[in-house]
Structure formats: structure tokens, C-alpha cells
Assembly symmetry: D2
Homo-oligomer: 412 residues x 4
């Protein structure tokens, strides 16, 4: 009668129960690097639109690990060898795949750092591997796609990886956008391996079509939602202004580990060379950003306090979308209004209140990473060829949308 | 074709969609007091046990408001008059019923303040009423139970209020403790009014039995869970130590509005008399507490940094329960071990690492506020008399459990 | 305190509770014509593949009526006038829209009758209107699309009618094909009226895309499933053989009202002219067919008893699909095998064991009945033009598949 | 790449997917005895109250088999030996545990037969064992509780068997009585074995309390529902009348295998001795009963046709409950009314329209079969002792209710 087992079943609103399958997985979950993910929301500022979206990267990592258990079991039941060691390694790889995410990653990665979160993930995994005495060698090899069984890497990172299968389902669940819910269960049941590559059995074509449509729906309805985009742009400008003030020697409240990054903008090389960068980064999370911005609502600098106040109290910028770039004359007209309303003399300051850029959903599909369908005669077709329904040329095409953000008080 | 309407439908994972029924409700939701609830978790530290429990008081307040819409419609359909003005007022009352909650209320109310959150709620409602030019007069009257239709107050605060019906359902949902799910829908459909009091039609007896059992289950399985209790006790001691250091003139990182409360412990009278207390309170939320404690993991004071480190990284105290008080000899033995392990000379410092107290589930039922069942012959019985199943004398009885918390490194 | 109300709330696994909104709706539900739908499964023989698919046309009619209540409320809330009388009429119309369905409609309509179920529906509604003293005049007018507000007819019958929104959701639910689940709630919330036509507000584009994909998925995965198709073809041949035996004067067990239709094949004109046809039809349901076929497993005619046995015990024909028609040579080869195995001399008898025909999903979309999207600038676009994702030319195209069925014992 | 596997995954609305774990389980499911369960509803006439309750004994048997897979895996993971042979046997035992059920068992067992369905189940299993060449020896041994590992029998038949865990969940699901839903998942996770007996680990106490309350709720809200009771009593009287007419030599439409049982009332000994009884029984199902009664709506005997008409069209008797037996004077008064209304001279005929009897929920708990709780110190307590909440003396007590049924046209 084992009682240790029981402790390792975790309640999860999405799947009911999640079983921690190996001791080392439990130990990794206990590590401060992983515990830190409890304080980083999966969807950053999306909760401004969908109040339920408070779920964290901690929950997502566990969910993806849970799906990995199903996928490994299914593939084994279909006669494909996955050794216990490989199973442990691929579970660890999915658990840690997002370990390097900072708070509000997309913002941070362009504003406080000059580093991609995937590079930090690798750095953190290496550090964990040192602490775990090399037990993560195979995990790193799978993560970096140097392991000889390529399909194991695909379970961690590909068009049909456990990452995606969990986050689409989880994000749909917590936002309450029920149409985004995908049949991750059924897709996993249809997984198979052909020439060392993950494939979907042909019975699963409709599930894949549904998955692709749900993914697109989630992009436009959740991930690229206007309001979340506006909040994100305001956050970027708030941090820019704060950094500017710090550079001018102004005093600014912020936890030391956040202030650290306001004074420098490290690259991945800096991370390698200066241990204290890494140490400070490992302390950063959503709470620091939010708590500091709240303090800044009372800061004497009007630009900072205005932006901070509007951000904290959800008086967000208005966003307009356009298929073509906005005209300079139009932008200048808005800038003039802002300058007047905010009483700004310096045109550089006006830029804190207007953003124009573009988004694109190119995250969709890469030509080199297709979803392949396995037919009962053993042949393989790309989903684009196998499905007569989906306009996959459209799906594959990068959709680019220009946007313009500014305070609602300004007429555009 | 009304488009304003559309903006006021909010996705909610629990109910699907929540409709904001009146303009003033929308305006109240936009107010900084209410937006602040986005940053206060409904279940404080429970996510240390149930990682899904990240939902906020903002979500709960909207959920309870949604149930109020159903309850009002059902009662109206049964022929009871609820005017539009009353409907607005009772919706506003439930929306604002928790407006005065601070971060980790139970901790804060004993450690940083000497004030009950209900008193702050009233204060905030009064302030809102001023800002809304008296439009909340009836809301306050219902909330304070001075309105002549008593059943309206009961919808906001009683054994079967919309608060409870939402939080039990919502907490079950997000913790993933699916057995706690209650049939709030069905209970609301069984609501009726008898002599100006809320009653349940007799067809609903089993639903009420189920509700009471689910509530008890949630108490022991979630609300009073050992691990959450341990985390809460650690949080209290961390704040106590921080306050001690501040009082000794030590420098301590914290946002100004949190530091404010480390330097004084205001009472409700202070709130009335000193506007800046109120102002600082309105800025406080979970993020400040969490971000500050994280900074304290590097503080030179060993007691503070030890506690902070263990708290942040979830190395929580062990909790033992007992039906009787723990013996002094036992407690002293543990204190001795702590003093040795932590190298503490001053016995007063040892108390930061050991807590003994008791909990009781007296929140259950008050003799003066029963659930009444309406039979088809017009007679009324208390659920205790109407149900032959539940041992309601047990339910009614206060269950008291003593507990003892200390670091896991210490043997007890 | 109204108690009559309570009786009219019906539990439904799909929506939780269904409220019967008007007295006449309740009275219609009590009528034997409607009660009869309790004994007719929504998906005929699909339960041979999806054992959960036991739900009836009774449940579906109530579900569609429930969605109608939501749709009417939403449209009213957007400022469109729907009078109480119209609301009752449109509720009655959707409740009765399938009233003329016989058991295993598609089979019956080609084998026992020469009548379309819609014509019988109209006949039954007229009969009900007589019994209800003309209270269904407006219902009939809406059903027949002669009522001046055309959008009311569209709620009953169009690409986005309540019929479809319920059956797709319900059939997904009971088959357990969870990917087919549609967001009927959200679609209804996006309904609006433009120029007396139902339209979808532009925010709902993705929901419509999802709906169309889910519908297609349900077609291929459920409605046209091989195994159900095989069962249906066997059922047709069993009834053909039984009719043949009856015509030859053989005695055959069957309830009188079923035997009635084995002796003649009435047209809709016959229905109008001969009241006993109508009377016998109103008694027919799934139970008669199934019970009779079971008796026939012991019939001395080998063809009938073989087919009946295999059908009852789910030894179903094998189905092959092909994009082109099967070759005569191939068919003849199979026929020869059947003749040998079954020891059949008469080639006409062989045809009871082989079927070749085609199916097409032309049910999809009709050029004259599009889904229109309403943009915020008041303009209207067809979904095909509004969506860049869906290959609607494919959706619109009739997909035709040839199939060939025969016993599994025969090699093809 | 195994494709055989895929065919053995069955969609189920309750659990999503059900995997058929062993080849012999698949073969048993294909057998006509098991296919027959597709035509027998799990809840008989309950669909008259809860229209969703159309689910069959076929679905339930598969669901219970699915839970067995979980239970076996959990117990194995806790270190208890269950060999592959034992696993197969216990899966087969649960699959076949209800194989002997006839249509509307409770009615049939008292009206058409004098045999308990469990006895027929054993008979059918023995017959299957013969056909499967003794492969079911261990299955029979477990079913009959002669196998040395007693806990295997308990998984099939005890207070916490997989039968109960499935049917409570499934019946709640399909009736839409969501409060009856039990956490079968969690209960199974808490299963353990102590002294060769199934026990629940102490963490599961609240789940068990919830389970017992849900069970009681289902009893009074579903299983003993007035309306279903009325329908059942009418069905009994219809069959009694039909049998009476047959005995008088009247002609009566019914399928031969049903007519067979109208002419005799076999005992279990008759089953053993007369193979044709068994053969006729194996053909009987709900469809025969329903189809025949519908024919009888046109029978010249007024008593039969009245009852049949009211039954088919759901004009059900009114039921009154009482804690004490109804008085003879009251009953006689009602009989007089019936005689007048129905113009019945013979008082014996009146009895077809009035029934008085009692029901009791003694199905609850037997003193010899308790639910035992395993504490972490290895001690065992009965749930009655372990729970301070439930009034288990009440739960254990047989609740007896008298009832009286008669046509609604009669005043009582």
C-alpha cells in the first residue's frame, strides 16, 4: 500500500486530476524556478477582457505534462517503443518547456530584456541539470532536437505538441470562449508514428480541421483581442517611461530585482556572463510589475502617473485596426490632439500616448512543420491535401493587421 | 438595433455568459474600487494546494450578481413584486457586498488592520453613494437590512444568499473539487417568499440537503485545508516580523501604501477620521504583499528572510490537528528544537516558527438564520425538521479543531 | 405564489432545465401526436455506432423550443417587436416542426410511404389546429412562410434555425462526439434582424465558421457514418422483403397499424382522402418496426429471417465508399458470391443482400438561403464573403460518394 | 501500428471514450444476449418524467466495465496483485452482471415471470460459458463470490461496486438531475484493500458522505418518483388484464415470444427444464411491450383499451403517498367512484384502476455490507462511525411509504 502516490495527484479544473508520474517530475515541480511560474499568468493581460483568464504558466505546464502521459501511453499501446528513461525525459521536457518565461513575456522581452524566452528556458534547464547532477541530459537532448528519436521532440514542440493541445484547451476553458475548446483527448488517441514522425490517423481528419479552426478562432477572439493589445501597449509605454525617468536619475519605487532591469537591458550573452542577471530574473514575476505600476499612479511625473492610473483602473487606449498602414497625416492629427489635451510640449512625450504598429498571425503554420495524415493503406498526406474543406492556403498565409492605439479621449 | 448591449455581456467559465443588466451596474464595475477586486484572489493562498484557485473577488462579485438576476426573475414570475428600482438596488448590493475586502482578508484583518471587512465595505459603499449622487440609497438600505422588504436583504446575506450560491459553485469549479459543486440553478428555481422571508419549496429539500453536505465538504476539503492554513500562518508571521523590524527602524522594501500599514494599525474609527488611511487601503492588493515578501527573501534579518523564502518557494510549515489543545510540554519540546536549529537565543523569536491555535467551522449556521421549507399546504418547517437525513444538530454544532504549525525540519 | 409554473419545468441533460413558456405549448405537448415522438429516436439506427444516441424527437422538439425562447428574448432586447401572440405562434411552430416524422423516416418515406415527412407535418398541424379551434392559424402561417414577418419563419427553418442549433448540439451530446458541439448560446446572442431577415452580428463570424465546420464534421462522422448507413440499408431490404411476402399472401407477424402499410404505399393525396391512413400512421413508431423484425428472425422465409437476424444482432453489412460508381463487373462478381453462399437461384433475391447507391451532403447550403453577417457600419455580407478562412465553394459544393453494401462474409 | 485497437474505442457521453480492454470482452459484447440489452432501457418508464432517461442497460454495462478498468489499475498501482486472468474475469463479471434483466424488470418479474433477474443472469452466464468453452469459469466464480480473493466480488457487487458507481452517475447524467452526480473518479482513486476487503482511504470520507446523500436524492427524486411509479403500476395492470383475456380465450395481438409469457408464468426451475422458455425470454425487450400495448389501445375490451390508451398517451394515474396505510373506507369510496365512472359492475374489474401498496428504500444498506474507511494509522472504521455528519441510523433505516394510485378523474 503506497501512500506516497496519493500526494502526487493534483486537482485540475480542466482534466479533473493530474497524476505526477515520476519522482523527478515532482522534485522539478518543487524547485523555485518552477514554483515561480505560479506567479506568472499564462495570458498576461487578457483577463482585462476575459476575467476568468487568471490561470498561470504553472497550471499550463502541469496540464501539458498530463497530456504527455496520455500520448506516451497511446503510442506505446500502438507498439512504438518508448523506454522508461525516454518517458521520464519527455515528461520533464514538456514540464520545463516554458520555464524561461518572464512576466508578460512579449512586453518584457522587448522592453526590459533583449532576450528570447526560449533561450532563457535552455539556460534554466542547464542550471537545473547541474543541480540534478545530469539527470536532465536526455531531457535537454529532446528539447534541443538532438535526440535520435525525433518524434519525442515533436511531442514537445510541433504543430501538434502537448504544449498547444493544452494551452488551446486551457485558454478556452478559463476565458469561457467555449467555441475554442478542442478535442485534445481525441487528437491524442489518433496519434501515431510513421518514419519517426508524429502523424494523425485518417479517422482524425475532422478533429484536425476542427483544431485548426478553433486555433484561428482563439487567435482573433482571444490572443489578438483589441483590448488586451491596448493594455499590452500601455504596459510597454509605462515601462519605457519608467526606464527613461530612471536614466534621468529620478527616484522610482520598484522592487530591487525589477529596478535592476530598469537600469540595463541585458542580452543572452550578459545572462551567460553575469550570474546576478540570472538571479534577478529568477525573482521577477507579474506581481512586481503590477505592484510597482500601482505605486507609480502617485508619481510626480504626469506622463507616468497618467499612464499608470489608466492602466490600473482599466481606462485603456482605443485600438483601430486597418489592412493598410495608417497615414502619417492621420497620425499627426491625433498627435496634435494628444499634445493639446495632455499639455505636452515635447513631441517625444506624445509618443507615450500613441502607438502604431502591426500584428500578424504568422504563428500559424510553418512550411517545414506540417500536420501529416496517415491513411489505412499506409500512405501519408499533408492535412492541406487531405482536407477538402479548409482553405489552407489562407491558413498558411500570414494575415497582417495594422493598428493604432491612443487614449479614448482623442477623436480619430 | 442596440449595440451597447453587446459590450455588456461578459464571458465567465462558470456560467458561460454574464449579462450586465443595468447601466449603473456597469458604471460601478468600472470604478477603481471595483476594478481593485481584480487583484484580490477569492481564496487567498488556497492555490498552494489547488493550483486552479486563482479566481478573484471580481469574478465572484459578477457571478453573484448573475445569480441575482435569475433569483429576481424567478420570484417575479411567481407573482412577487420587485420593482425595477428594487431590482437595480439589490443587484448593486450583491455586486458590492465584498467591496471592502483587502488582500488575504483574514490575515490582514488581524495583522495590518483592526477592522472587519464588512465595515470597510459599508464605508466604500457610502463613498460610492456620494460619487453616484445618492443613487445607492436603496442599495445601502437593503445591505444594512433597514429596507422594509426583508427578503431583498436575504438575497444578499443569509444562509441561501447569492453570495454563498456563487462562491461554493465557483470555488468548487476552480479548485477542481467537483464534489463541492452545488445545484445553484435548481435552488434558485425553488426559491419563494413567505411572510416576507425567503423560503425553499418542498420539492427542493434534497437540493438543500445536498447543498449543506457540499458546503461542509468544501469547508474541510478546501477552506480549512491544512496546507492553506500553514501558508496563512506563515504569512501572518512574516508580516508580524516585518512590522517588528519597521518599528525598530529597520529599512524594509515595500510599496508606500503597504508600508503605511506596517507603521500603524488603524481601527474603523481611524478610517472615518483620516482620509489617507482609506486612500492607502484602496491601493492595497495581493500583488503588493507577494512582491514585497519576495524582496524580503534577501533581507539581512534571518528570521524574515527564512520565512519569506520558505513561503515564496512553498516550503510550508507542517500542520497537526487535534481535538484537544496541545500540551505545553509538547510545545516546549518543539520550541527547543526550533531554537537550536535556527540558532535563536531569544525565545520570543521562536514564536515566529511555531503557531498553535484552533479553527472552527462555526460559519455554518446561526440559530437566528434558518433555511425554511415551504410545503404545498402552505406550512413552513425548518430544514432541520423537514429533513430526516441530516444530523443537523451536528451541522449546527461548532466543530473546533486545535492545530500546531512548525517547520517540517522539526520533529513533533 | 404560483405552483402551476413548477410543473412546467422539465429536466434536460443538454440545457439543464427547459421551461414551458405558454399554456398552449403545454397542451400541445400533452397531445398524442406529440407524445408519439417519445417513441421515435432522433437518429434512427445511429445508436448501433454511438450507443448513447437513444434520444428522441420528443427531446429535440423541446430543446428547439427552449432555444426559441432565448432567440425571441434576445431579438426583443435588441428592439425588434415580437408580440406575445407571435411569440406563442413561433414557439408552437418550432415545437411542431417535426411532428410528421415517422419511425426511421428516411427508410419509411421510401419504403412504406411515398410521402415526405414535411407534408405529413403540415397535415398534422392542420388537424391540431382544428382540435385547438384555430389557435394555430398564425403558427401555420409562420411555418408555411406566408406570415408577413419573414424572420419568424427563418427562426423555424433556415440555415440558422433553432431546429439545427438544437439538433447539432444534442446529437453531439448524446453520441459523445464532443467535437461536434456548437456554441448555440453564443450564436443566438449574436442574432439580429436586418430588412426583416435574420443576420449574425459581425462579432459572431468565428462562431459561424466553427458552426459550419462542426456541422460538416457531424455529417461525415455521425449522420453519414458507414455503419449506420449499412444498418439503414438492411432495414430497407427487410421491409421490402416483408412487403413482398405479404403481397404473395404469406402470413407475417406485425402490429395491425404496421401491416396496414405493408399492404399499400399511400401518397400524400391518399392521406388527405382516407382518414384511416392518417390514423394508422399516427400509431406507428420505432417499437413496432423493431419488435416485428425480431419476430421475423424466426420466419420460415430464409431471406427475411437471415436479414432480420443479422440486423437485430448487429451483424451488419460491410460498406465501401468510392468517388466513382462501382463497376458492373465488380458488382456481378459479388452477386455471384452471394448467390452461392446464400444458395439463391433467383437473381432478384440476391438484391436483398447487395445495395449500391450514393449519398451526398447536399443538405449543406442552398444558394437561396445564405447566412448573412451584419457589420457595425450597417452593411451586410454573406458568410462566404465575410470569412477568409472557409473554402465555402467547397462547403457549397455537393459532395457525392458512391457506396456498396453486402454481407461481411463476401469478399469484395 | 495496430488498427484493431481503434475499433474498440466507443464514444460514451458520460466518460468520453470507453476502451474495450480485452478481446473476449469484445466478443461477449457482440453476443446476441448482450446486444439485446440495447433494447432494454436502464430506467424503464422514468423517461415519462425525465425525457432524457432513454439510456439502455447496454450503455450501463459498458460504463461499469470502464470504471472497472480504472479500479483495477488503481489497486494494482497501490501494490495489490490482480493477475491478467483475474482482470479479464472481473471485467467480464461486471459486463455481464445485469445480463438477465428483462424489459421493465420490476414489472416483468412479478407479472410475466416468477423469477428474479439475478437467477436469469447466472443462467445466461452459464450458457455463455458453455459457448465460450469454459473461458468464463473464473468470471462465474467471482460473480458467485466463491473466488478466494473476495475483493474482486466486491468490485462487482457491494455498497461501492462499479455497478452503483456507474448507474448513479449515468442516471443523473441522462435524467438531468445534476445534483445526483457523484465523483466516481475520486471514489475510485481512494479505493484500497485491507484484509482482502475493499476499503476507502480516509481522505475520501467526504466523497463517501456525498455519495450516500446523492444516492438518497436519486432514490426519492428519480427511482421512486411518483409519476414513474404510476406508470409502472398501470403497466402491471395492463399486463394482468391482457393475461386475463388470454386465459379467457380472447385473441390478443402480441409478438409470439411475448404471448408465450402471457400464457404461462414460469419459475426458475421451468427455465432450467424447458429450453424454449429461455429462448423466448432472450427475444423479449421493451419494444415488444410498448408495441403490443399500443395495439391494445384499439382492443374491444374496454378495460384493456382504456388502460392502454392512457398509458401510451401519458394520462397517468394520480399517486398519493402516506406514512400509514390508507383506510379501507377511503379506498372503498374511490372504488365506488371508479365503478360509476367506468360503468363497471364487477368489483374485481375496479381493481385494474386502483392500486394501493407501499414502497421502501431498503435497498440502501445492509448491515452485513458496510463501507469501511482505512485511516493512515492502519485502523478501520465503518463510515457510520467515521462520519460525524450523516445520521446513518436514518440512512440504515428502511423508510416505508404507502401509496394509492387511481385515475385523475376520480377525486380522493
Amino acid at each position: 500500500m503506497s501512500t506516497g502516490n496519493k500526494k502526487k495527484i493534483i486537482n485540475d479544473p480542466v482534466y479533473g486530476f493530474i497524476k505526477v508520474p515520476f519522482d523527478i517530475i515532482y522534485d522539478l515541480m518543487e524547485h523555485p524556478f518552477f514554483q515561480r511560474l505560479r506567479r506568472i499568468r499564462q495570458l498576461g493581460l487578457t483577463h482585462f477582457v476575459y476575467p476568468g483568464a487568471m490561470h498561470t504558466r504553472f497550471q499550463h505546464a502541469m496540464g501539458a505534462m498530463h497530456l504527455m502521459s496520455s500520448a506516451v501511453a497511446i503510442l506505446q499501446s500502438k507498439g512504438h517503443e518508448i523506454t522508461k528513461e525516454e518517458s521520464i525525459a519527455v515528461h520533464a521536457a514538456i514540464l520545463l518547456h516554458d520555464i524561461g518565461h518572464g512576466p508578460f513575456s512579449h512586453v518584457l522581452e522587448n522592453t526590459l530584456l533583449e532576450v528570447d524566452h526560449e533561450d532563457i528556458s535552455k539556460l534554466m534547464m542547464q542550471e537545473l541539470n547541474r543541480e540534478f547532477n545530469g539527470q536532465l541530459d536526455m531531457t535537454l537532448s529532446i528539447f534541443n532536437n538532438t535526440y535520435h528519436k525525433k518524434f519525442l521532440h515533436q511531442l514537445v514542440s510541433s504543430q501538434l505538441d502537448m504544449d498547444r493541445l493544452d494551452y488551446l484547451k486551457r485558454d478556452s476553458f478559463f476565458t469561457g470562449v467555449s467555441e475554442g475548446v478542442i478535442g485534445s483527448d481525441r487528437i491524442i488517441k489518433m496519434l501515431n508514428i510513421h518514419n519517426d514522425s508524429l502523424v494523425i490517423e485518417s479517422k482524425g481528419i475532422y478533429s484536425i480541421e476542427k483544431f485548426l479552426v478553433a486555433r484561428r478562432l482563439m487567435y482573433w477572439q482571444v490572443y489578438l483581442h483589441k483590448t488586451a493589445l491596448a493594455a499590452e501597449q500601455m504596459l510597454i509605454n509605462i515601462l519605457k517611461r519608467a526606464r527613461q525617468l530612471v536614466s534621468e536619475g529620478e527616484e522610482l519605487f520598484a522592487p530591487p530585482h525589477l529596478l535592476f532591469f530598469m537600469k540595463q537591458k541585458p542580452t543572452i550573452d550578459d545572462f551567460h556572463n553575469q550570474p546576478e542577471i540570472f538571479k534577478n530574473f529568477a525573482l521577477l514575476d507579474d506581481d512586481d510589475i503590477m505592484s510597482s505600476i500601482k505605486s507609480w499612479t502617485l508619481h510626480p511625473d504626469a506622463i507616468l502617473s497618467n499612464l499608470a492610473n489608466d492602466f490600473i483602473n482599466r481606462k485603456l487606449f482605443r485600438v483601430s485596426f486597418s489592412n493598410s498602414a495608417f497615414k502619417n497625416s492621420h497620425i499627426n492629427e491625433i498627435k496634435k490632439q494628444i499634445a493639446e489635451q495632455m499639455k505636452l510640449d515635447d513631441m517625444a512625450d506624445v509618443n507615450y500616448f500613441i502607438i502604431t504598429d502591426h500584428i500578424s498571425n504568422n504563428a500559424y503554420s510553418k512550411s517545414d512543420d506540417q500536420i501529416n495524415i496517415l491513411f489505412s493503406d499506409g500512405s501519408i498526406k499533408d492535412i492541406a491535401a487531405a482536407s477538402d474543406m479548409l482553405n489552407l492556403s489562407v491558413l498558411g498565409k500570414t494575415v497582417k493587421k495594422h493598428y493604432l492605439c491612443h487614449p479614448k479621449s482623442v477623436h480619430s
